[in-house]
Symmetry: C2
Subunit: 358 residues, 2 copies
């Protein structure tokens, strides 16, 4: 039977429930022999305490939660690993949860705070689209990490949430970094630079990186050509896919005979683009240069190796978790932390100067 409770164990052992409880929780005030006997019975009957009851009873617990938005991003999972280790060293319990794309992570957070008496929360991924009210109701320190920053969005005169609630945020400056990537391409002599992006119609990292692309062009006095923009519009949740990169590069090459470079807002997209370029018979980087964004492992091994904006994964993870614990300890106020990313030049990009025919 699966419904064994602590009472059953107590009855079987001929002791009180509190004694059984003490045995389970390694309390000091218990006769070693009694404990041994109880543990044996627990083993025999396969008794497992009901966590709901435990958490309900517990008034507080040293634990923090990692809420990852969007399944299966290897970049986040690497960060989670680092943060979990840190958490463990602080003798806190780490709770890792995925949040579906159509779920509101702040609601999940609120429920978890109540249920597990969290001390703090780290939000990973997704875009910032929360109301000041919902944020205020979280009730424990929290921090956003690698979440699309709201600051540079085109907000139609809507007041910034940041001005109403002080929330903590650790991120790379998406706009500035993608600007950096495109400036690099321009300096290499590229004059027809395509971009594969997504989410232009809403606050998103895609939008931010697109704005950086535009800014770089403007800065160098280059005209913006909508023809050079491929926007991924898949309905499905997963948009950062190789397939979309493949499709995007195909379309850009078809519509722009003079194209010599493509900036992709993610490495995975760039990998797909590379495949399409090669399949079209063009060479990388001789005919077309490709630059990605993220700095994932795959980009170091693909052929050719990918030039990319590398996000400082471990630094971000450490800064985030340190910040959270500082807030929990009352040693620091919520703040906006911008981390510097690095342009890593590898084999997928090169000069944009062409012998020129026309």
């Amino acid at each position: 039977m699966s419904n064994t409770t602590i009472k059953d164990i107590a009855r079987i052992c001929g002791v009180g429930v509190s004694t059984v409880s003490r045995a389970i929780n390694n309390h000091p005030d218990i006769n070693p022999e009694t404990k041994k006997k109880i543990m044996a019975v627990i083993e025999e009957y396969g008794f497992v305490p009901n966590d709901s009851a435990r958490y309900l009873k517990r008034s507080e617990s040293d634990s923090i939660a990692f809420l990852v938005k969007g399944i299966s991003n290897p970049f986040f999972l690497g960060m989670v690993r680092i943060m979990e280790q840190f958490t463990q060293k602080k003798n806190y319990a780490a709770i890792l949860r995925h949040v579906d794309d159509d779920q509101d992570e702040v609601s999940v957070a609120q429920a978890l705070v109540k249920e597990r008496k969290l001390k703090g929360i780290v939000f990973l991924g997704g875009n910032f689209n929360h109301t000041p009210e919902s944020l205020q109701q979280i009730g424990v320190p929290y921090i956003f990490c690698t979440v699309g920053n709201e600051d540079e969005f085109q907000m139609e005169g809507r007041p910034r949430v940041r001005d109403q609630v002080r929330y903590a945020n650790v991120a790379v400056d998406d706009l500035a970094e993608s600007e950096k990537a495109v400036l690099y391409l321009i300096e290499q002599g590229h004059r027809h630079i395509g971009i594969i992006t997504e989410g232009l119609d809403k606050p998103s990292v895609g939008q931010l990186r697109f704005l950086g692309y535009q800014k770089a062009l403007r800065e160098r006095g280059m005209a913006f050509d909508p023809n050079l923009v491929y926007e991924i519009k898949t309905k499905s949740a997963e948009r950062y896919t190789r397939e979309n990169g493949y499709l995007g590069a195909q379309a850009l090459m078809r519509d722009n005979p003079g194209l010599t470079a493509i900036f992709c807002i993610s490495d995975v997209i760039a990998i797909g683009a590379i495949r399409a370029i090669i399949d079209s018979g063009r060479k990388i980087p001789e005919d077309v240069s490709v630059v990605g964004y993220d700095g994932i492992d795959e980009g170091k091994y693909c052929v050719p190796r990918l030039t990319t904006i590398e996000q400082p994964q471990s630094e971000m993870a450490e800064a985030t978790i340190q910040f959270l614990f500082d807030m929990i300890g009352g040693k620091r106020q919520p703040d906006n932390l911008l981390m510097p990313a690095k342009l890593v030049i590898r084999e997928s990009s090169g000069s944009g100067y062409r012998p020129e025919a026309g």
Copy 2:
């Protein structure tokens, strides 16, 4: 304050707690106006019911859990998505949880069964190393999917768990499939086939696939050469990495001048191997052929495209979840389901016949 309870809401609204409960849970027997008023107060105070208390009270709930072992395997996550949809159609709730590598998934399952009153469980990933006792204590139908099969392990006379507990299992026949891959290479004329594998000292898919490799050689009367085996021995949890594939291929090429093919027990490893081969100045597949195992998306886009054993991801997911619901409904007994995989020949493999010098 974050400690608002249903009682507080009731008091504020001037109603009883049961009325509030009815409002929250969309019960029919409630005055629409009362409900509206209550919902407004709940909204205002940001009240969130405590899930621990809910689950504690609830005697049963139509929900099943997906326990994924090992963080971040895109293959599992694709399957989970399919199974979640199926679950939703059956009007069951799906609970997705990660299990750390050093955690026992069966223990986690037991706790979850108690806490959330599960109807069934799907275990994904990891190796089968459970005792009959622990399995029997789960108490609800469960099924292993893509879990290292125990059947072909070298068990040193230990009785098979399968003979003591009838557990359900859906998997690809790792041994037979990798045998298939190696037979293909032999038929292509390869006579010096390396293997990059892992976990030879313990029951694992690595061991199984290695056995398939050996069997293929034996079958074709080819001698087994330990020199052609590279075993990944990293301490860290992650062994299926590009880096390990890179290192493995380097070592194999160094130790075997006549090497013309490498079989890798996973696609990710194969991708790393490809990079090492190219870096060494060799051509794929002209000089060295590479075959992977899994059928991940990355293998369809890498350069060259990867020849691999493709596991039937969606078929496995569907078979698994269907089987679980059949068991829940009492319509089917636990059983062992072997799914057929497919050898997909792409660009990374070719003929092993060489002009021959020596």
